[in-house]
Assembly symmetry: D2
Homo-oligomer: 389 residues x 4
């Protein structure tokens, strides 16, 4: 997703591609006074080796765009630092271990605080080096296993006190703070008054003590889990059934995908986060609980394609049973990447306006929106336009 | 649809079935002060012989409901008068001719005025006999061929002046006023200060001079073509593509259905009205024209089932091509019948409030809404709730 | 399935329904000298309470057929004996426990031999009471968990020696012979020179020592797992890809079903047998291994409907990727029941001809055919016709 | 298709691609003694301007293959002669007129005989120039409108006598022999003792007098209409329903495609040939007539993709209604091109063996096989293997 976003940003700036897929380029938002695309500078953290141009080619992105944007890709490459692993889960660690050749792109630390300090240092360096007003950190890492936050404090000062405990080596996380890398990035961003966006199903900042941190620092954050396919359709179709008083009896979703994120999700521990995130919205949108089943499987041959089959069994007047089936055949990173760019622009605008805490106005981008209850997609989109236009 | 609506109304009144499928029973509208179901009395016009209980059985409606509601069906049967045929088109006339045994349920007249007067007389008789405040006429007849209104006047007085010209016998309508039976029902209803709802793709009241008549009489009307399946999905999904700035390149819809309405649509002349009605919304919802193809075919084995396959080919960021396919397998009359009951309640409320002309607030019920431009379904539904709740 | 088969047999005999779905009524087999439908007498074992007429009504089978065949259903009811539970697995035992009211329809025994002796006694009684030449026992019970046969002997005499060991109470089967109820029925049938058909994914007679028993007694058997839906399609479509030299890269199948068999399969232990049985054929039919994923889920609202979505990703000339998607929406017992009747007729014919051991000619009926390698469906069907016609 | 076949042949020869999609490379046929790929020399006739390498790029064929095979493409280019137009139908003529720039690639003649003589001359020149034993002419031109053969003689001598009548200019074909260009190629090939294959729905050699010609000259021919998608599936699935005695009530197929062949089919006159060819097989395979509907539409955005939706409504035991839906998303020329190469090899083998007339053993390649009644695909494939292996 990151590679596609970086290439796409470069291509949009150079006028090589239309703005298809970019929400902030819709007429409804064009006058919102958002920053221009060429005011955005991309940096990042990455745990896997390889350079952007090669990754873009491996993703099957258009060769002529890659070569036309080679300069931008190479420049962005130089702004990428080694990523942080921390309780990242077995599948991510395996993936990293596999691809790791001479070069090691990861850093590990003895305590969460040290990891946070290192990330914060990177953000500070980046800001200075590029002369930036503000940094928006967008989490795009592969899905981490669920984090057990039940035993953690809900206020930032109490949480902060636990971050100096040493991390044990076994990633199960028996001792030490259970927060995973995604949340450490969030802390580093928010604590330094930058913004944080969680585009993944990982915990990130979706947790009381981190919202508390954001509010204390006057920072803002958004998330959780970019809404790009099956759930996008669900948040459009469930309100339809509700508006016609049709009773959804069951809603089955089967997802297959073939990229590296898919490989990570093939691991049951990691998949748990994803399934939870995908399954939540339906009851809220319908007003009652229907039987739902969501499954997601790694199918290597699909590459960047992500195919979702949905089977909705519903009942109408006089009890008549009916079905809606749909198959969404999408290109995973082409759907996600422009939203990442949109979020950077919109969150920067929110930060500039002094908005703090969870940005509920961005709910239409996420499967589990922070700062706003789950609503139908159109209602979310209308709220976005009202907020920013 | 009429039979299903009558049986369903009886069953809802007796508490035999849940209110699934009835929009006016949603919590959002429950407090709107609409009339109770038992304040509704059903009458009608019908061109085909047969009684309601037998038709309900032939439609495969639940046998136990039919026998539990036998009294209501028989009572409604007595309130049904022979229907009017006028330029109704070859397929409807054939169907009528085929089923016509001893009994003839149709009336033909020498001029449109005479037909209108006869219908108006029926409405008046019905109102008096049942002691009713108001009559809502809902057009549910099989689709008529398109009516050429280009040469007709746009004001009611001018149109009225043409209604005494004799109708020629050949239904091609070479001479005489080209209005078809559906519009004559509309005139009869509106001229007598009752309401008119056009649930079909036929012209009905979707024409300037009839809106003029409604406004002159202080009457209200709504339509056109109940939105029950493929178009319902389109008006939900097209705004989704628009809200993500995804470019719809083509949208293909193939519909198959097996009931009597399907047989009528198998005739090219009648199909023309339907296809026009189904195809209009997309450009308005997307803001640009994509290639659309809509086809509809009669498949006898399907009976009341109506199956629609849709193939949407769209493009995202960096030009990535993607597809959404869906198959809607619905029960035609179970989808339409409750909306007919809802419309009767809502239009009665509008009439009681003194609303006149086209009721744009009812747009969410129709493929080609009168009195309001085409909008996304959620926007239409929100407008409905705001208007009536 | 059993109820549908019994009702259907009665209805066919009375000439109330056409012979649709019965393979042995095809022109190609009509002259095969099979027994007439009225030479078949149905008996059985059942672990769940309830009578056939009520079960048939609950399955939604046509009310008029049930009442017209009431005499046959009642007569069959009297020939049903309590079933045997033995290592039947947690889900079956739960189901039985739940439905068990006053009446207990199950029998348990201290050793496998005692259970076998009891079943054999029932078969003998049935044969005498009805004056029958031969009994064909068809296993239709819900799927049992996989049986670990690795430690069991491959010859009948050695296996027989283990059948007197006491069964422990805990159904995990820590001690005692691990054979489950399905295999005990098989032994009882084959040891008494009757025939056995395994229409389920359970082990049944698919195991060397039971084939040895069959051959020693001159008895015949067939199985395993009736081929009624997704696998049926696979054994037709995989040969298509093979015949065009198209490379199947992945084949994903997702099955949802709502009847009692579905509930049992929702248990992971039971599901294991089913998934193994569904997934085997592809490599054999293609000649190479493609990635396959088969999942099966219980969706209560579907009742007897069984819906399978298949996504086949394949590659053609010059590497062009393509897909075939299909959705099979079937009525589970309507697909299975006629095959059960066909198998009774065909196996009776094989027994009469003196065929012994596994009946490979019946391969077209099964997902994991005994006595014949896996082949394309058409090849199997041609073999069936050649053998019996 | 031709361009894809030429590029693919070059790539296979050079070992640049696997032999996926080539039937004659299956193990079952590998020992059949067919000619080697490098014994094939490709020539041709073409009515549209443009060179092979550019066309290949426009089709989206892999750029690296095009450049690696540039020499072969350029060599083939030199062996291509201007094509013949004759009653080719409005859509083909329009297409030609549109693309026609400086260069005119078509030839028209005063009489059919002159056209035939010109083609025969080209074949003779090609044979001599390349030192070939035999030429197999494969018709790959866009679909022509149906030809009315009712008034034409059934023997070659009688037909031949009509070929000197002048062709009128209006392509409706009021006077003069109604044979279209496709059949003139067939005559030129067969009359010169070469072979002819009709891979299109056009008439080609599917007509008594041309089979008579073939037999008189000792030449062989095959056709009609390459079976690459929907019909391929039908000839596999219809035998499945037949083998289970399931009653197909209706079979609806909706096809959408976006290449030049699709544009031609968008014309009703041309479409008539295609629809006739696609619809024929079902009754023959089932043994009874079910309602079938086949439609085909041009959807520009699809390019080389051809998507077919099929909806099969069938009935099982006890009348249970069920459905099978499928969506085939294929790459039109990747499916067709290897079959063209296979046919060249196989027909060359038949010619070398002295087979004459229609080659029924090739039925598995065609929608409307010549020389053999319509049968299931597996039966056809088994016959192919038996004949050639």
């Amino acid at each position: 997703v990151a590679t596609t976003a970086i290439l796409g940003l470069a291509a949009v700036r150079k006028g090589l591609i239309p703005t298809t897929g970019l929400v902030t380029e819709l007429p409804a938002l064009r006058g919102a006074g958002l920053i221009d695309w060429d005011q955005l500078v991309v940096g990042g953290h990455e745990v896997r080796p390889g350079n952007l141009a090669d990754t873009a080619a491996a993703l099957g992105l258009p060769a002529e765009l890659i070569s036309a944007c080679r300069d931008d890709l190479d420049a962005a490459q130089l702004r990428i630092r080694p990523g942080v692993l921390c309780h990242s889960g077995p599948a991510i660690e395996e993936l990293v271990a596999e691809e790791l050749a001479d070069e090691d792109c990861t850093r590990s630390f003895a305590t969460p605080s040290e990891a946070i300090a290192a990330i914060a240092g990177d953000l500070q360096d980046f800001r200075q080096a590029e002369g930036l007003d503000h940094v928006v950190v967008v989490l795009l890492a592969s899905t981490e296993p669920p984090t057990d936050t039940a035993a953690l404090p809900e206020s930032w000062p109490e949480l902060e006190a636990t971050l100096d405990e040493p991390l044990d080596d076994s990633q199960g996380g028996g001792t030490g703070c259970p927060l995973r890398a995604g949340s450490l990035y969030a802390i580093a961003a928010l604590d330094s008054k930058n913004s944080f966006v969680n585009f993944t199903p990982s915990l990130g900042s979706s947790y009381a003590a981190l919202d508390d941190l954001a509010r204390r620092r006057g920072a803002c954050h958004a998330g959780r889990d970019g809404k790009t396919g099956e759930t996008l359709l669900k948040t459009v179709l469930a309100p339809l059934f509700a508006s016609r008083n049709l009773e959804v009896m069951s809603w089955v979703g089967h997802n297959i995908l073939g990229n590296a994120d898919g490989r990570v999700l093939a691991s049951p521990e990691h998949k748990a986060s994803k399934l939870k995130s995908k399954d939540g919205a339906l009851g809220a949108l319908l007003g009652y609980e229907a039987q739902t089943l969501v499954s997601i499987e790694y199918v290597a041959s699909l590459g960047e394609r992500k195919t979702a089959w949905n089977h909705v069994h519903f009942r109408g007047f006089l009890g008549a049973p009916m079905t809606l089936q749909l198959t969404w055949d999408g290109h995973d990173s082409a759907l996600a990447a422009p939203l990442v760019l949109d979020l950077a622009r919109l969150v920067a605008a929110s930060a500039a306006r002094g908005e703090t805490g969870a940005l509920g106005a961005l709910a239409c981008f996420f499967k589990e929106p922070l700062g706003r209850p789950i609503e139908g997609h159109q209602t979310q989109f209308d709220a976005l336009v009202r907020h920013y236009a």
